[in-house]
């Protein structure tokens, strides 16, 4: 006897950002591999166009959600709500900026071709799935889609042995942590009977509040390992400095932006949407991990000499900040707190910042992508004053200086923490940001205050190509504009609490 097969209904419109990316990516792969090399900038222009298309669709969906309200898609596999669209938009912005930075980089390094861009687009699909997922399996597949693309991207600079090394490290550790994640999924599945968020949530609906399940709890722990790894939270951060340093710089930007956004969105979704029943169990973990992450990121950055590595540690420290938002979200049942909006806002602002920062580092890296040491930045203010200004803005924003988006971001999470009376972590975070300010200052010292030596003058001149210039300039303007007038973004971010099904 054959059970009646019910084909799920699919709201294609709601999937449109995903579909645009998929279509664009496939076209790029097919056409790109069939034709000879495209003209200069064509690949990146195409990628940007696709991403912009997806972005437009996402914005349309955003408004649609505002009007029609959130819902689930495809047998509850995905949730279609403001949260997922906010994440989608963030990831798409990351794609656009990264593609612009990548353009000249690839030609400079003699690696031009459609593959990298195709991988960006495909990875973005993984990211989008992660932010939209409403099922642990879908989430796992999203993670893998993103991760596998990132492994390849990290290793894609064939001439730099560091790139290969970072690829292999990322790959082994990534798979390792994915296995933990997956085991967590299995245990949760065992404890709740499903991998779907709605069902996981419902599984303990009728059970008394104090009734927990060790299996599920351990599963949650394993799940968190995978997510912590993804967002580079200590002590699961060890891959980050090595991979950030080794990967081609634009890829690092992608890793730090899209990768982090997707990871955190997934973490928020899992913890806040699927596992609020156990929030008293996972919140202390987030607390302690956030503290360790903040400290590790800030302290280890102090002794670095490679700017990419410094920024890697700084991204760890930023992860700590976002974890504060997650922690705050764990104080209330459901999504009503300030935690989710502040984290998502932080992610959006950080995405633009980090893309801009690595954009500058890409240019300073010069041919070979190796001149990313502090000394390489000497004389930047003399050679390319505007680039130096942009770098300054980005770094100050990362340090959380007012009138930049970075301050708004930090303010948001600190506010969320204070709102849930987590003053201790707020203070710790601010103090760690003092330590990490030192690292930004060190870069600024190289940029502005140390005169270049004769040897530095002999080094290859820094070029600022159009596409990178556009990306960096746009990121800088965004950073400042949001810093001065953040109202609209804050309002938008506060909508992310309207989750599907709640």
């Amino acid at each position: 006897m054959l059970a009646e097969f019910v084909a799920p209904k699919i709201d294609w419109m709601a999937l449109s950002p995903l579909l645009v990316l998929l279509g664009g990516g496939l076209v790029l792969i097919v056409v790109g591999s069939l034709t000879t090399t495209w003209p200069k900038r064509a690949y990146s222009t195409y990628t940007v166009a696709v991403a912009v298309g997806a972005l437009v669709m996402a914005l349309v969906q955003w408004h649609r959600i505002s009007d029609d309200g959130p819902k689930f898609l495809i047998n509850d596999a995905l949730s279609f709500d403001a949260f997922s669209m906010f994440g989608t938009i963030t990831i798409l912005i990351a794609i656009i900026l990264t593609a612009l930075i990548t353009d000249d980089f690839l030609r400079r390094e003699g690696m031009d071709g459609p593959e990298i861009y195709a991988l960006y687009l495909m990875a973005a699909i993984g990211g989008l799935v992660m932010v939209m997922s409403n099922d642990l399996i879908v989430l796992f597949l999203g993670i893998e889609t993103l991760s596998i693309a990132l492994y390849v991207l990290a290793a894609s600079h064939r001439r730099r042995i560091e790139s290969q090394e970072s690829g292999i490290k990322y790959f082994v550790l990534g798979s390792f942590s994915s296995a933990f994640f997956l085991y967590g999924v299995a245990l949760i599945y065992g404890g709740t009977g499903s991998t779907n968020f709605n069902k996981i949530l419902a599984a303990f609906d009728n059970v008394p509040a104090e009734r927990k399940d060790t299996l599920v709890l351990v599963g949650v722990g394993l799940l968190m390992v995978g997510l912590f790894f993804k967002v580079a939270a200590a002590p699961f951060h060890f891959w980050t400095p090595d991979v950030y340093e080794g990967a081609p710089t634009p890829v690092t930007a992608f890793l730090a932006s899209a990768g982090k956004v997707a990871g955190f969105a997934a973490m928020l979704r899992v913890l806040v949407v699927a596992l609020p029943t156990w929030r008293d169990d996972w919140r202390p973990v987030i607390w302690i991990v956030a503290v360790i992450t903040l400290c590790v990121g800030a302290i280890l950055a102090v002794v670095q000499t490679n700017v990419k590595r410094m920024l890697a540690y700084s991204s760890i420290s930023h992860a700590g900040f976002i974890l504060i938002g997650v922690e705050a979200a764990g104080h209330v049942n459901g999504s009503t707190g300030k935690g989710m909006p502040s984290s998502m806002l932080y992610l959006l602002l950080y995405t633009v910042l980090v893309c801009g920062t690595f954009g500058v580092v890409t240019l300073v890296g010069r041919t070979g992508d190796n001149a990313t040491y502090l000394d390489s930045f000497r004389g930047l203010s003399k050679q390319k004053p505007l680039l130096a200004v942009a770098m300054t803005v980005f770094l100050l924003a990362q340090a959380g200086v007012p009138f930049t988006s970075g301050f708004v971001a930090k303010f948001g999470v600190i506010r969320a923490a204070a709102d849930s009376h987590s003053y201790a972590i707020a203070i710790i975070a601010m103090l760690s940001s003092v330590i990490s300010a030192f690292l930004y200052l060190r870069i600024l010292i190289s940029v502005w205050m140390i005169d270049p030596t004769a040897e530095d003058d002999k080094a290859e001149a820094i070029r600022v190509p159009l596409s990178s210039g556009v990306a960096i300039g746009a990121a800088m303007l965004f950073t400042l504009a949001v810093g001065i007038y953040p109202q609209w973004l804050i309002t938008a971010s506060e909508k992310v609490t309207q989750l599907a099904g709640r």
């Binding site: 796992f140 597949l141 893998e144 082994v172 390792f176 085991y183 599945y189």
Partner: protein, 106 residues
């Protein structure tokens, strides 16, 4: 032999999976050949698969098996890419162990 005792329950399978998983983890930690490390990860994935199937049976839910199917696809994709990366780096330095890949540190 008492039949009641003789039938292995889900717990047995799960424990077996847990042991397999732990062996995989230990393998990743102690082996220096990246290929073998990767094999150990495959062990971990298999442990998960085993758990899934056992749980699916216990719960009477086919979803666990479906999941295993996806895990296999992921494993296959990972192997392809992972071996690709390993080939590309090991081709240049065939004797390299995981410990030799330590240019990036600090």
């Amino acid at each position: 032999m008492n039949a009641a005792i003789a039938t292995p329950t889900t717990t047995w399978y799960l424990l077996l999976a847990a042991v397999l998983f732990a062996i995989g983890v230990v393998g990743v930690l102690v082996r220096r050949n990246p290929l073998i490390m990767f094999m150990c990860i495959e062990l971990m994935l298999n442990a998960v698969n085993l758990s899934f199937v056992a749980l699916a049976r216990a719960l009477g839910d086919i979803g666990g098996q479906t999941t295993v199917f996806f895990v296999m696809v992921v494993a296959a994709a990972e192997v392809v890419v992972g071996l690709g990366i390993m080939v590309s780096i090991l081709r240049k330095r065939p004797t390299a162990t995981a410990d030799d890949l330590a240019e990036l540190k600090g």
